[in-house]
Amino acid sequence: MLKTIDIHINGETLCVPENITILEAAKMHGIKIPTLCHFPDQRVKANCRVCVVEVEGNRNLVASCSTPVREGMKVRTNSARVRETVQTILELIFANHPQECLTCIRNANCELRQLAAEHGIREIKTDMSTPLLPLDNSTPSIVRDPNKCIKCGRCAEVCHQVQTTGILYSHYRGINGAITPEYGKTLAEVACVLCGQCAAVCPVGAIHEKDDTAAVWAALENPNKHVVVQVAPAVRVSIAEEMGQAPGTIAVGKLVTALRRLGFNKVFDTDFTADLTILEEGNELLQRLKNGGTLPMITSCSPGWIKFIEHNYPEQLAHLSTCKSPQQMFGALAKTYYAEKSGIDPKDIVVVSIMPCTAKKYECTRPEMKSSGYQDVDYVLTTREFGRMLRQSGVDFKALADGEFDNPLGISTGAGAIFCATGGVMEAALRTVYEVVTGKELAKLEFESVRGLEGIKEATVDLDGLPVKVAVAHGLANARKVMDKIQAGEADYAFVEVMCCPGGCIGGGGQPYVTKRETRMARMDAIYQVDENMPLRKSHDNPAVQQLYKDFLKEPLGEKSHHLLHTHYQKRGL
């Protein structure tokens, strides 16, 4: 049984579990203590000090996030001494913070601005100064504004502990202290995978997605352009959250209507090419198994993961499936198959993606991604940017009626939808591979063993007497563990799914603030619900995909597929 102790907070006696912090104890009893560097699921940093409280017997205040409770402890969280100290800390931060709140990208959801409002900061009583450090907008994905950085260390923590990319860390000391890539280089000059997890945890406007909404507005306004949009699976379970509803709210139909309202000529679905990916990738796997190709084969739909393996395991690229990601397959087909079918000159087609991801912005600019003869995908917007466009155009999201995706690139199955949860690509592939190999119908579609938030999931699937060992990893720390095993020749998997972000795309770097474990769980539950609600749940049953092969591609891994749907990788190194 959990051992409990009695402590006193603000004169109230509270029974709390032992071995927790004052901050946790206070939270359990509805007492709010302000925090900045604290982030759910991260280690305690105790840098920002805005969570200081008074503890009887201590000379100075203590940080509640790092101080464990003890029997009989007397804590005050709201004394004049605490309030004055917290106000002074906030004032000290503001005194060296750009006074750009009105125009800051985080204006509506900045944690620092929120604290200032809550703590009644009305005046900065000392000299204000603004640091004048150069902006890092060297990548298509992420913008770093070191002037707004409050050195809380959340980004470095996620970069080191969750992703093990180790790009951002604290440099120099004292007032010159900065959290930057090595030697003050830009993100483009280092092995950053552009996953955007740093942006997802930044409390202020110091790291954020590169905003491409202006370019998309311009395309929509241009009468000579035919603008089509594709929506990633994860966005249908997060856009409602971005628009103020609870995490895990499903909004497939409203999402389509919202996009029509914005003026897109066609509203298509990345789930369609997710299904297509399964057919290409599933056949590639079977071919590798049959012909003694490089095994395990590893999925290739996550661009952050692709960049990671190119930098960190350049000798292991043969393991990667040559399939492009669903986003890029879509772009290539939109400007060939769809252009042909609709009789529109591909040079006049603009392809916009709505993605949960910042790395997708970079993926579409890769030089290989021009198989239609044009840049296959023109603009990528994150869920957050999409939300911004909806707000700008006055869409009352909750009140929207449901709409239907357009044909043919809008038809999909439940297998395509679950791509966005860790284990989803694996499950979708197994649903198809099983039936192709065995010729039998699956009795149960759900592969529970590859679902859930465990870091590395392993399973052995019985393909009618042929056991196939698979693994699923999400978050690059877990991917690294699996890769180390593969590199050492100690892995006997046939097929491995890797997603760059924890939880898969539903936890992507472009998703609504704040993504923590419970939020990931809620979005995952929602996407499995979407899958269950679909009339078709196996990729090979997708009639639009069948039609595509019949009319255009001819066969999986055929010549056209090779040209449009497959790619190659670069050895980048560190």
Binding site: V44, I89, S170
Partner: protein, 432 residues
């Protein structure tokens, strides 16, 4: 009236011998050196009891009971443990550890070895700041000699105890004197303080239980064991037994290092040990405890040097640096210098220290340039108090000590330098 008494040959913890050279191993042994180690190996339990009974407290600044720390080490079941000697003596105006390492290295090594045996550590580091090349050289040589004599290394004096010591050179950061920053520095990481708890005795070097003590603390141990805790307690006071090495500098006749029994007043330290003021000028203020210490006026000097009484008076004994200022010295200049020092040495990890020092430094620059306003002085006090209350580690908490104490005792110097000080304006009018 006086609690001061000359320490005779016997009643000393430290015997620096001939100050021109380092006491050799044979000289040290001839005067009873390494007797304590033999006793500790023979009866470790008794040795630990003596240290506890002696009431020895850490001499690095925090004054944590040394015996209690050792007992806490013994309570840990982890097999791999470390001992670290903190010889990063970075507190400005402090030179006691250097003196010990340069002159009586074997007394330090003996104390270190005893502590390691009691703590169950078989490996250790002496973390010496890189500004002390002679000390590094001397300790290195002494470790080799002790090993050759069977006093260090495997099976010390034929017993089952072993201790392997290495020297680790600091790289110039003041903050690395903070124990957890020091451990990070040895691990090859950035010298920044870590979250406590866990404390080093639980999770120290590479996550293993680590006993970390200051040079002077460890060098006290041989005398306590050889002569007994009862003898040790004849020195000093009930609250603070033993002696403290005082680094006396500034405007006194005889600057230098003195072994002073606890309970001696600061005035006695200046008058009796330091021989009084150097010049004809009067005593204006004394800085006690180094850069992180306080600045006090002559009226405060009758406070006995004793942890309890000093704490009551807001005086920090710290590392034992006593810097005497005569009336020619500027308090503002002194504080200005210290603020610059801390601005340079702050690691930048936590908000109050980093941002507080940024602002405090700007204001103090204006104060010394005569361009500050009275509002600035208010902010100075507010920001410094915030640093003291909320900083992550001792550096930020103590960085404002000299500022706050000087504002308490010498506020008029600050206010007179302000552009909007009323009295000053009229005074200037008269003068002009």
């Amino acid at each position: 009236m006086s609690t001061f008494r000359e320490l005779d040959g016997y009643d000393r913890v430290f015997n620096f011998g001939n100050c021109d050279s380092s006491v050799s191993l044979s000289e040290y042994q001839q005067t009873g050196g390494y007797e304590a180690l033999r006793m500790a190996i023979g009866n470790p339990k008794q040795a630990l009891e003596e240290i506890c009974r002696a009431g020895l407290r850490g001499r690095g600044g925090a004054a944590f009971p040394a015996g209690l720390k050792l007992k806490m080490m013994q309570g840990n079941t982890e097999k791999q443990r470390y001992i670290v000697c903190n010889a990063d003596e970075g507190e400005p105006g402090t030179f006691k550890d250097r003196f010990i390492m340069n002159h009586i290295p074997f007394q330090l090594l003996e104390g270190l070895t005893i502590a390691a045996i009691l703590a169950g550590a078989e490996n250790g580091f002496v973390y010496i700041r890189h500004e002390y090349p002679l000390a590094q050289e001397n300790i290195k040589r002494s470790i080799a000699e002790a090993e050759a004599a069977g006093l260090l290394g495997d099976n010390i004096l034929g017993s089952e105890f072993s201790l392997h010591l290495k020297i680790f050179s600091g790289a110039g950061s003041y903050l690395c004197g903070e124990e957890t920053a020091l451990l990070s520095s040895i691990e090859g990481k950035k010298g920044r303080p870590r979250v406590k708890p866990p404390f080093p005795i639980e999770k120290g070097l590479w996550g293993k239980p680590t006993l970390i003590n200051n040079v002077e603390t460890l060098a006290n141990i041989p005398a306590i064991i050889a002569k007994g805790s009862a003898w040790y307690r004849t020195l000093g006071t009930e609250d603070s037994p033993g002696t403290k090495l005082i680094s006396l500098s500034g405007d006194v006749k005889k600057r230098g290092l003195y072994e002073v029994p606890f309970g001696t007043t600061f005035r006695e330290i200046i008058e009796n040990f330091g021989g009084g003021m150097k010049e004809v000028f009067d005593l204006k203020a004394v800085n006690i405890g180094g850069a992180s210490g306080v600045v006090v006026p002559p009226e405060e000097l009758d406070c006995p040097m004793e942890y309890g009484k000093c704490a009551e008076r807001g005086i920090t004994i710290g590392s034992g640096a006593v810097y005497v200022m005569d009336e020619q010295r500027s308090i503002l200049g002194n504080v200005h210098n210290r603020v610059h020092f801390f601005l340079h040495e702050s690691c930048g990890k936590c908000t109050p220290c980093r941002e507080g020092l940024r602002q405090v430094n700007r204001i103090i620059d204006r104060v010394t340039a005569g361009e500050a306003s009275l509002k600035d002085i208010e902010n100075l006090e507010r920001f410094t108090r915030c640093m003291q209350e909320a900083s992550f580690c001792g550096l930020g908490q103590a960085a404002g000590n000299s500022l706050l104490s000087s504002l308490k005792y010498f506020r008029e110097e600050y206010e007179n330098s302000c552009v909007d000080c009323v009295e000053k304006t009229s005074e200037r009018g008269e003068l002009c």
